[in-house]
């Protein structure tokens, strides 16, 4: 028998998705005394069991290659020791890519989403990022500006805890910072080499606690942030936002709940969320007064597009036709180099916080006659990383042979590799979007997405600039470029779309309902009790990773929603 389970009393607020955006909304609303129900498509997270933070490779028989040796055959989706955060391919949940496009879609199915694992680079967007059309005639201005966003960034930074220093750079606006962390050897040398080229290298802005904040312990510098942090010293929405909210008694959590459709009444307001309980594959409905969709840019678009009704034949709140459009990802390009000066360097613990201690903010904003608009930032890699499966395949294939000689060569070169990774802005274009693939449903019967994606000449030229810059820096260090550091995604000179995992733009905000889905508060123009709180509302995708702005914007959205509630949903 097909029976739909419905709740009786409508929930005040249902939040769909528990990542950076959903976590923030949950935190802000429960702090304000509002009851929230959270739907997460994956299971609950138990950091103490699920995070393999301090495990050494030899503590498992397969050393991290996977129980069935997956990493040796290109079948490991994500490192064995990495925090459980999601997949490139989810069994039974396909998506398609148009024949003229390349796109890879990373999806999370776990409490906290990608924040359990993400790089935690935390950069404010600049004034010109919010007013990009006014700045250079490309893209679209946001309905908010930097001055309006700045206090929300303050709140986000103060709560999350971000390292950094005040630099006074327009391309890297200052924020509320915890103390920076000292640079590693390779970072100091890169800094000196880059200075010769007129390129600034400054302390990184990372969501790791160099001091204890809000009851979260200070970092213990094991460098394993990507594996998840048991002490929550590296930010995750699960540990820092959702678990504390659960303790308030105001949060109801429903896990393994895959949202299928938002159901509207005749007046065009959302009255319930239909979702699949994955454990039983039964449809459930939760009635609600308001819904905040925070399922990640493309899942949020998918949910709206799949919520069709007589009132909304093109998908919910999609009178503008903009749902799914303007899909962007960051550009990615990286070079590795061998630095002879680092050979046989005295050994030491170079872990620190996971990821870079210094970085390069964009430095050519004011340069005339560039080959491309906007810019990119550069992430620095190197040091004595923990050996893992695959760490020395490059050396084995390059030096060949065997025996003591090979061993000596590997010892000499350990820690002598640097990696420079560019992450740049993509200007939204009409060729990059997602839509419902009418030929396919997933294992829950939910229609799936089809992606279209194309870099424009702007991004291609930008990646060439990265190549030249990184080559110059490596050579200024006395080193030699050894090749693209991530050929699996960057062999064509710029990353495959989606692989940097910074999707944005698919449910855009704006003041004009004809050209945008959401208003300036990220509330749908056409549906007064529907909000979106992830990177879907973004009007651009600047060279500053999306998460901090997701949190700041979601915070603003949540407080506005709470104010509306107080006024009786004006």
């Amino acid at each position: 028998m097909f029976q739909i389970q419905r709740t009786n009393t409508p929930a005040d607020v249902v939040v769909i998705g528990s990542g950076a955006g959903g976590g923030t909304v949950v935190k802000v609303l429960t702090d304000l005394g509002i009851n929230v129900t959270l739907l997460e498509a994956g299971p609950m997270l138990n950091p103490y069991k699920d995070f393999k933070e301090h495990t050494l490779p030899y503590q498992v028989d397969h050393r991290g290659s996977g129980e069935q040796a997956q990493s040796y055959f290109g079948q490991q989706q994500w490192g064995y020791f990495a925090a459980p955060n999601g997949y490139w391919d989810i069994p039974g949940e396909p998506y398609s890519v148009s024949p003229d496009s390349e796109f890879s879609w990373f999806r999370s199915r776990i409490m906290g989403g990608r924040t359990n694992h993400y790089g935690r680079i935390s950069l404010r967007f600049s004034d010109y990022d919010f007013k990009s059309y006014s700045f250079d005639g490309l893209g679209t201005d946001w309905p908010v500006d930097y001055a309006e966003m700045s206090p929300w960034y303050d709140k986000a930074e103060e709560f999350i805890g971000i390292t950094g220093t005040r630099e006074g750079l327009r391309t890297a606006p200052d924020g509320v910072f915890l103390p920076p962390i000292p640079p590693r050897v390779h970072e100091t040398v890169i800094q000196k080499a880059a200075a010769k080229l007129g390129i600034p290298v400054i302390p990184s802005r990372m969501a790791m606690l160099t001091k204890s904040v809000h009851g979260r312990a200070a970092c213990h510098y094991c460098g394993q942030c990507g594996r998840g942090c048991k002490t929550a010293s590296a930010f995750s929405s699960s540990q820092a936002m959702i678990f504390p909210a659960m303790k308030t008694g105001r949060l109801t959590v429903i896990t393994n709940a895959m949202a299928r459709e938002l159901i509207v009444d005749k007046s065009g307001v959302v009255t319930a969320v239909s979702y699949v309980d994955k454990n039983t594959r039964t449809e459930q409905q939760i009635r609600c007064k308001r819904v905040v969709v925070a399922a990640s840019a493309c899942e949020s678009a998918r949910l709206l597009l799949n919520s069709k009704s007589a009132l909304f034949p093109n998908g919910l709140a999609n009178g503008s036709g903009m749902v799914g459009r303007n899909l962007t990802d960051s550009t990615g390009y990286s070079l590795a180099g061998h630095i002879p000066a680092f050979e046989n360097m005295p050994r030491h613990n170079s872990d620190g916080i996971g990821g870079m201690h210094l970085y390069i903010p964009w430095w050519e904003l004011d340069k005339k006659n560039k080959d491309f608009p906007r810019g990119y930032h550069v992430e620095l890699g190197g040091g004595f990383g923990m050996p893992g499966v695959g760490s020395f395949h490059g050396a084995g294939n390059k030096y060949e042979g065997y025996g003591q000689g090979l061993k000596n060569t590997i010892r000499q070169n350990y820690g002598a590799t640097v990696e420079l990774s560019g992450r740049g802005e993509m200007i939204p274009n009409q060729h990059s979007y997602c839509e419902i693939d009418s030929t396919q449903v997933d294992r829950f019967g939910i229609p799936t997405l089809r992606f279209h994606f194309r870099w424009s000449e702007h991004e291609i030229q930008q990646a060439k600039h990265m190549h030249n810059t990184f080559t110059n820096i490596i050579e200024a260090m006395g080193g030699k470029v050894t090749g693209i550091a991530h050929p699996e995604r960057e062999a064509k000179g710029v990353s495959v779309g989606g692989t940097i995992i910074h999707e944005a733009g698919t449910v855009r905000m704006g003041d004009d309902p004809k050209t945008s889905v959401l208003d300036r508060w990220c509330r749908a123009h056409e549906v007064k009790n529907l909000y979106v709180a992830d990177a879907a509302p973004f009007l651009g995708n600047p060279d500053k990773n999306v998460t901090l702005t997701i949190v700041a914007l979601a915070w603003r959205t949540a407080e506005h929603l709470a104010a509306d509630m107080k006024k009786g949903d004006a």
């Binding site: 030899y58 312990a217 510098y221 200024a476």
Partner: protein, 193 residues
């Protein structure tokens, strides 16, 4: 360098925040610095390989990376061969190829051959420049074996200690030893600027 806090200090610090399990990371560093052997010795019963294949793999691993026996390289490869058919095929096939080749060249299987003959065959298959249709299967197999023995060795306590990995520890603060920084700076192009 920073001082490591004691386990007790950490427990007190973390208990105050209510956020950490007692499973602290201190043991990690101790385990590495002990550099204990992962060689299970004569009692080991191979799971995916035959006894002969396993003994051959032990010898091959030790020649590829001296110390690999203690790093558990043969057991690592045996384990994965028991978990993945493709992996089993690579190793049972590759080791059999080496035996056949040794029989043709030296009149015995590879493991029974004199060490000079054992290495003479490796000297052929350890380099792409020696590629020919006759020894191509050996070259391909050796590339697999070399990569996986390197994996096993450098992810073991012995290999980590030998290469000098000192991380994945619990520290109260992070700093870089000046000795290392000066070493790198003196050898850099801008040493005198």
């Amino acid at each position: 360098m920073s001082d490591n806090p004691t386990r007790r200090d950490l427990l007190i610090a973390f208990t105050a925040t209510g956020l950490l399990t007692p499973a602290l990371a201190q043991h990690v560093h101790e385990a590495v610095t002990e550099a204990k052997s992962l060689d299970p010795g004569a009692d080991y019963k191979p799971k995916g390989l035959t006894d002969h294949e396993y003994q051959t793999m032990r010898k091959l691993a030790e020649l590829i990376v001296p110390g690999a026996t203690d790093s558990g390289a043969a057991e690592f490869i045996d384990f994965l061969s028991s978990r993945n058919d493709k992996m089993a095929q690579i190793y049972t096939g590759g080791l059999a190829w080496m035996d056949q080749e040794a029989k043709h060249r030296y009149g015995s299987d590879w493991l029974s051959a004199k060490e000079a003959n054992q290495t003479a065959l490796l000297d052929l298959i350890a380099y792409r420049k020696n590629d020919s249709p006759e020894i191509r299967p050996g070259i391909r197999f050796f590339a697999w074996a070399r990569n996986m023995v390197l994996d096993a060795y450098y992810t073991s306590p012995i290999g980590m200690k030998e290469i000098g990995f000192m991380g994945n520890q619990v520290l109260s603060s992070f700093s870089v030893p000046d000795e290392a920084l000066q070493y790198a700076l003196k050898r850099s192009p801008f040493a005198n600027s």
